[in-house]
Symmetry: C2
Subunit: 252 residues, 2 copies
Amino acid sequence: MKRSFEIDRILERRQLEALLRQVGEERYHINHPFHRLMVEGKLSKGQMQAWALNRYCYQAAIPRKDAIILSRLDDPEPRIAWRERIIDHDGDGTKPGGIERWLKLATGLGLNVDMVKAQIYALPATRFAVGAYVTLVEKRSLLEAIASSLTELFSPKVISERVPAILKRYDYITEDTLSYFSPRLHQAPRDAEFALAYVLEHAKTAEEQQAAVDALITKCDILWAMLDALHFAYVEPALCAPGAFVPEDHPR
Amino acid sequence: MKRSFEIDRILERRQLEALLRQVGEERYHINHPFHRLMVEGKLSKGQMQAWALNRYCYQAAIPRKDAIILSRLDDPEPRIAWRERIIDHDGDGTKPGGIERWLKLATGLGLNVDMVKAQIYALPATRFAVGAYVTLVEKRSLLEAIASSLTELFSPKVISERVPAILKRYDYITEDTLSYFSPRLHQAPRDAEFALAYVLEHAKTAEEQQAAVDALITKCDILWAMLDALHFAYVEPALCAPGAFVPEDHPR
């Protein structure tokens, strides 16, 4: 078997950027069957609940992983830019942040807020994937930690597809319930622009470029594995891990 | 939803031991459908290969996680006991250890040894579950790190079921190929006895007892999630994560 996205010589900046974007084209979870079912209106309410409940674990970890990156940046300037991410997710005490808006989505789907926040009813595989993201930013190089955030290059596309499709095809979901997503449409490109510039600037050797590309692949794997786990537990073969959330309409 | 295995008062030693054993009864992967298919002789050669290839990532991480525990033990006596585990898995330079014996299983199933050792063709979910085990022993209390090893209380049962069933039902697999398992039948009980005594001695408060039980549950979740991922990718719906090993007989 051939390794994917192998770099055998130093790439120019535009070539590295093109390769990073190609990783997204091939590996981003917009291509996952669970996402396809969602935008085609084919998920049950229980399946949508399971998605919101599990994805909460990811949302809740984001400011912690960003704080780790903040702690590894040596200069005030990049820290000022990066801390915006934490503000976006945690809010500023008056305006709700992304985590609170995600809880609104979860409760709008009929879930109990404490059950969601407890995280213990999420699928273990979800927690392990999220943990892998935190571990990556903690233990790998700073370049890899920052490169792993580059999935945000692709998130406006998935959001632009997801939101109108959900509003059109799931009559019990309102625009207000989906308020998590609209700020992300300008936050994500701003964040991705900074991270991309950082990666293109700091990935100078072929080894560094390979490490950056591999970090983005791993991040895509993390998002993909989260949907694999949802698909397995709630769609086909619909085998829920012991102790995990079982929606009322679960087929078994 | 009610939380599983909740402890609301301090348990006596025999009660705590009974509860730990009950976790195994309910949550150990001997109950997983992928294991059931294996012992019923219903897995294809490609599915057996995928199992061996993925499980290698777990085997390869075990001595590293045991070295973390070794580094956290303050006294020579428990370190002497615990280092046996590392010797068992890494070997002593003349006798092969568990990792080498697992590679023999993988190559006996027709896999290329370098592909297995590279680990990059394993399912991402396997790597994330294994990573969660290493992170647990590193970041949680020493009591939890040790309690998480207590799945070995239950492993002789799974091995005693697996080995004769495989020899009987898969004619291309020999006893020699399965040589990984026989030493485990005496190593695992010896290791589990030490770990159980440690946990029963050190889990004094209800909170500590709960932490020990939860660590064992998480470990069961890790093993379970590894089989979930195999089942999803190679049995049903047989959707392989991008970049992962695809056996020749994969249904898609």
